[in-house]
């Protein structure tokens, strides 16, 4: 081999230039003097070229290549000639972007891993937990599983303690680099055989070992306390597990433990009581603490530079409203999803971003959907609409109140509506329109879906429902046939069933009291039996009630227009007026059925209806049919 290429070179120079210039420089003979090679290739340096290096051959210097395009504007560069004149400060301005936009007032991250995002967003909580750990107090953190792995050791390290993490998987030998695996040679399959015990048992035995060996200054981290000692999906945990855990944890009272549990899983109270502090981390805060101690809006901290560049006009209040219930990992996933969806689309706006995030959220949840009905699709009821819109406007405006009025904000925002009125008047429709006015998601729950034959199950389902609604905020939960669960709480001769229903109502009220003003959520109950609804619910601070009656003449006109349009039946003003007058006492659903029948007649039975006279005849007949049916129902009801 070339004996002359023995030692590695120590003299390094940072060379600035484009790819072509680098290629040019590389193609010179290796004994060309350095200054000549640099000058000929047009390359620049980040520091003046010392004169004694200038005459050395090119090969004597190790070059660190810096792409000229990546150089920060204003960085001084130097010409390689021996006069050592500083070159013009190179300021590569990307074409097509105004300079004002390249220098934002608050810097955004260029790239963000889930780990960094979680830690940045939860700085406050991490500090809080760390403070307790420093005081040698055990902490139980209730948060979603997705963020646990980014927080567990981090919290302990923030407290300046040594973490001992219970992790069954860490005992497996996994080959993560090519060279490691090469060492295994023919025994490469050794890692495939797992010990006979289950994961839980292994974690348990590890916990047992660790808790005894725990020293001062060490903190035991249990990332999945709920799985170790809790029941899956709310079922009662196996008694032996709880017993063993309890004995273990209380057996070493001086051990400092940091445990995590998921909000959807329950852990026995006796275990939770072992911890000096319980901290719930849910969703994301509106602002995060930056490294210099100032509060930064979450939108600044969690949206990267390229993302902000793609979606113009992101406003922090507005953005937060749509992601308040999402944990930082989910926010990042939503942003990645949004970047993917809007790849290559021209000029997407913050509005598009919010819509995409809404779609992303409904992909996450099973029950929540994006409503399609808007207020413009509802004919008539101008009063109700006006009142509802006013309430929603207050909800949106409240976001802009100063933060000091937090308490006040909470009391101003509407939390729930009750829509009551005769059947078929479009109460559910109104609920959907409310949701789409909020640009939110909606889940319609009917009473039996949340009731259960197990006592306590109903409350749990309500709790989960609200937790999911928070994640999907802005969101609307609609309890259809609200009277079936929120009936007047009975007293005296009550059976078990009504007690369970009472507990459920109490749970709903508790959840509603806990609404945060900056996470827009509304509970809507619809009922046609307002008389049996629990009066406690009708307090103005909880539910505001709206009476949705059978439509009046004017509303009927509007409804007729909407349905006629939907069913492609062109009726003139005269005919509209006629039908509106003839349908007194009809509800919206009955009017819709009129047009449905007309549609069937026209397109499926091929009754002639193109001529205005024919159409009038057809609709008249149908109005008569429906009226007769209504009278029949009336008569038979009176008969009883």
């Amino acid at each position: 081999m070339g004996a002359d290429e023995g030692m590695s070179k120590r003299i390094r120079l940072s060379v600035v230039g484009s790819a072509q210039e680098q290629q040019l420089l590389a193609s010179y003979p290796s004994d060309l003097p350095l200054h000549e090679a640099l000058t000929r290739s047009g390359c620049l340096l980040t520091a003046p070229l010392p004169s004694r290096l200038a005459d050395l051959p090119l090969r004597a210097i190790q070059q660190d290549w810096i792409d000229g395009a990546t150089l920060a504007p204003g960085t001084p560069v130097f010409l390689p000639d021996r006069s050592h004149q500083p070159g013009p400060p190179e300021a590569p301005v990307p074409s097509g972007v105004a300079p004002a936009e390249t220098a934002p007032d608050v810097s955004r991250p260029l790239d963000l891993s889930y780990e960094t995002a979680t830690r940045v967003a939860y700085t406050r909580q991490v500090e809080e937990v760390a403070a307790f750990l420093r005081a040698d107090l055990s902490v139980l953190v209730i948060c979603e599983k997705a963020v646990v792995r980014y927080l567990d050791e981090h919290m302990v390290l923030a407290a300046n303690r040594t973490p001992r993490v219970i992790q069954a998987s860490s005992t497996d030998s996994t080959a993560d680099t090519a060279d490691d695996a090469a060492q295994m040679g023919p025994d490469g399959a050794a890692g495939l055989f797992t010990p006979p015990s289950s994961l839980g048992q292994r974690e348990m035995s590890q916990l047992r070992d660790e808790i005894r060996a725990l020293k001062d200054g060490q903190v035991l981290v249990v990332p999945h306390l709920d799985l170790l000692a809790g029941g899956a999906d709310g079922f009662a945990p196996a008694a032996t597990d709880v017993r063993e855990m309890t004995e273990l944890l209380y057996g070493s009272p001086e051990a400092v433990i940091l445990a995590f549990a998921d909000p959807s899983l329950t852990i026995p109270e006796v275990l939770a009581a072992r911890f000096s502090r319980r901290l719930a981390i849910e969703g994301s805060d509106r602002s995060v603490i930056a490294s210099d101690g100032t509060a930064v809006p979450i939108e600044r901290a969690l949206i990267t530079e390229p993302e902000a560049a793609r979606f113009r006009g992101i406003d922090d209040t507005d953005f937060y409203k749509h992601v308040a219930g999402l944990n930082p990992v989910r926010i990042r996933q939503a942003m990645r999803y949004a970047m993917l969806v809007h790849e290559g689309k021209p000029e997407p706006t913050a509005h598009d971003l919010h819509d995409t995030i809404r779609t992303f959220k409904t992909h996450l949840a099973t029950g929540f959907q994006i409503p399609k009905v808007t207020f413009s699709k509802i004919g008539g009821y101008e009063n109700v609409k006006r009142e509802l819109l006013e309430a929603l406007r207050i909800m949106a405006e409240v976001q802009h109140l100063p933060d000091e009025d937090w308490e006040l904000k909470g009391s101003v925002v509407p939390r729930g509506f009750i829509f009551h009125g005769p059947p078929g008047t479009g109460k559910t429709l109104f609920a959907k329109a409310v949701a789409s006015e909020m640009r939110g998601t909606i889940q319609v729950v009917s009473g039996p879906e949340v009731t259960s034959k197990w006592v306590g199950e109903g409350e749990r389902k309500v709790r989960d429902l609200f937790a999911e609604a928070r994640r999907n905020a802005p969101s609307v939960i609609v309890f259809d046939e609200f009277d079936s669960i929120a009936a007047r709480r009975s007293s005296g001769m009550d059976d078990g069933g009504s007690r369970a229903a009472n507990a459920m109502v109490a749970q709903i009220l508790t959840e509603m009291d806990g609404f945060r003003p900056d996470v827009p959520m509304i509970v809507i109950g619809t009922t046609n039996r307002l008389d049996i609804i629990d009066p406690a619910l009708l307090r103005p601070s909880r539910f505001r009630s709206f009476h949705i009656d059978d439509p009046d003449l004017d509303a009927r006109r509007q409804i007729i227009r909407v349905h006629a349009n939907d069913h492609h039946i062109g009726i003139g003003d005269d005919l509209t007026e006629g039908i509106a007058r003839r349908t007194d006492g009809w509800n919206g659903d009955e009017i819709r059925s009129l047009f449905r029948d007309a549609y069937v007649a026209k397109w499926l039975r091929h009754v002639p209806a193109d001529d205005p006279m024919d159409l009038a005849t057809l609709l008249g007949t149908l109005v008569g049919d429906i009226s007769r049916a209504k009278q029949g129902q009336h008569a038979s009801r009176r008969g009883h």
Binding site: M1, R10, S27, D180, A181, A182
Partner: protein, 382 residues
């Protein structure tokens, strides 16, 4: 004949890459030289060595430097062919065609690196055989040309199973990579830490792409213009001698070896091969026990050919400049001058002084300057 300017430029760029990689990987000069040679003559190399000897890092940097699409994978006995060649195209399959989606997989790679290559199942090795030899990939009924420049296989030990011999014979060149020797340990720690620091600072230590695969292809096409006649008798004699001594050399490898010699000649910008261009034959062995024998036989024949200009070593000025640099680091460095730092600098100066003395015994002026520097540094001891 003289080579066109374009060819010379590519050769020099490869030389630059070789230097850059050499600066980054201590004691891997021979390996890097062989990598470049293999890429020029489009042959395959088998790397034999223990884990942790920078095989993977070297490959990564090299493929970045020649802006090649790399494919890298670790084979186990349970690796599926689809992990290397691509998954089945389900849509096509439903339409009745057997097709494999080869996007970003081995059949579309310029440079391929498979670790533990002999662990692959026979299904994998069979496909690799065709890919290596004919540079073709059978995708369903269709035969496609693979852009593969070179294939690098790594293994901890050469295979003993005779069933693997046809496969291992496809690797024209072999290279044993050992751990860095005792004498280069200081360099290893220095450069290694330098790279770690670059990674910690968030700077990628990757070299900028300098040569394109298309340029490499043009360079390979120039191989046919290299005049091999002057070395033919020596080459013949060498092969005869080795075979007589029982060294296993297949006909295929003997013929293809000429390509390696031509590439060696081209890489030193020559057009008439000389005995110095026989150096690639050092990596010609089949059985590791023959390695010593072959290396000896080749070394005997690489006489210094007076017609070939020798590569110049470091000039006294270069060595002195580095010594000055080391001293400046100590004086104007960002760290307080500690005893350990002074000792390390003195050691570096000592090493440089030794180099200066052995390669340029007559450069008394520079030697004196260096001694002054040593005294300067020595005076700093508290």
């Amino acid at each position: 004949m003289a080579w066109p300017a374009q060819t010379i430029a590519t050769i020099r760029r490869l030389d630059t890459i070789q230097r850059e990689l050499g600066d980054r990987y201590v004691d891997r000069e021979e390996a890097i030289r062989l990598l470049v040679l293999a890429a020029v003559c489009r042959e395959h190399v088998l790397l034999i060595g223990p884990p942790g000897t920078a095989k993977t890092g070297l490959m990564d940097h090299f493929s970045q430097a020649i802006s090649a699409r790399p494919f890298r994978y670790l084979l186990t006995r349970f690796t599926e062919p689809s992990e290397l060649f691509g998954p089945l195209d389900i849509e096509q399959f439903q339409a009745g065609n057997y097709r494999i989606k080869t996007e970003n997989m081995l059949p579309e790679a310029d440079i391929a690196f498979l670790d533990e290559v002999f662990q692959g199942s026979s299904a994998i090795l069979n496909t690799l055989l065709t890919l290596l030899n004919e540079r073709q990939f059978h995708n369903g009924a269709e035969i496609r040309q693979a852009p593969l420049i070179s294939f690098y296989g790594a293994t901890a030990a050469p295979p003993e199973d005779p069933a693997l011999l046809p496969f291992s014979d496809r690797f024209l060149l072999r290279l044993e990579i050992a751990r860095v020797g005792e004498d280069r340990l200081a360099d290893l720690l220095d450069t290694g830490w330098e790279q770690e620091r670059a990674v910690l600072a968030g700077r990628s230590p990757a070299p900028a792409p300098t040569v394109t695969p298309a340029q490499l292809r043009e360079l390979a096409a120039q191989l046919r213009h290299v005049e091999l006649k002057p070395v033919m008798p020596v080459y013949q004699q060498l092969v005869r001698e080795l075979r007589a001594q029982g060294v296993v050399l297949s006909d295929r490898r003997v013929v293809r070896g000429l390509k390696a010699v031509a590439a060696a000649c081209l890489l030193r910008e020559g057009d008439i091969a000389s005995s110095v261009d026989l150096w690639p034959l050092r990596h010609f062995w089949t059985e590791p026990e023959d390695a010593q024998l072959i290396q000896q036989a080749v070394a005997d024949r690489i006489a210094d050919d007076p017609s070939v200009p020798r590569r110049p070593g470091r000039t006294p000025a270069e060595i002195l400049a580095e010594a000055q640099f080391e001293t400046d680091q100590l004086n104007g460095g960002r760290f307080a001058t500690t005893e350990g730092l002074i000792t390390a600098t003195l050691q570096a100066l000592g090493r440089l002084r030794r180099e200066l003395y052995t390669s340029h015994p007559n450069a008394t002026g520079e030697l004196g300057d260096l001694d002054q520097l040593v005294e300067q540094v020595d005076a700093k001891y508290p």
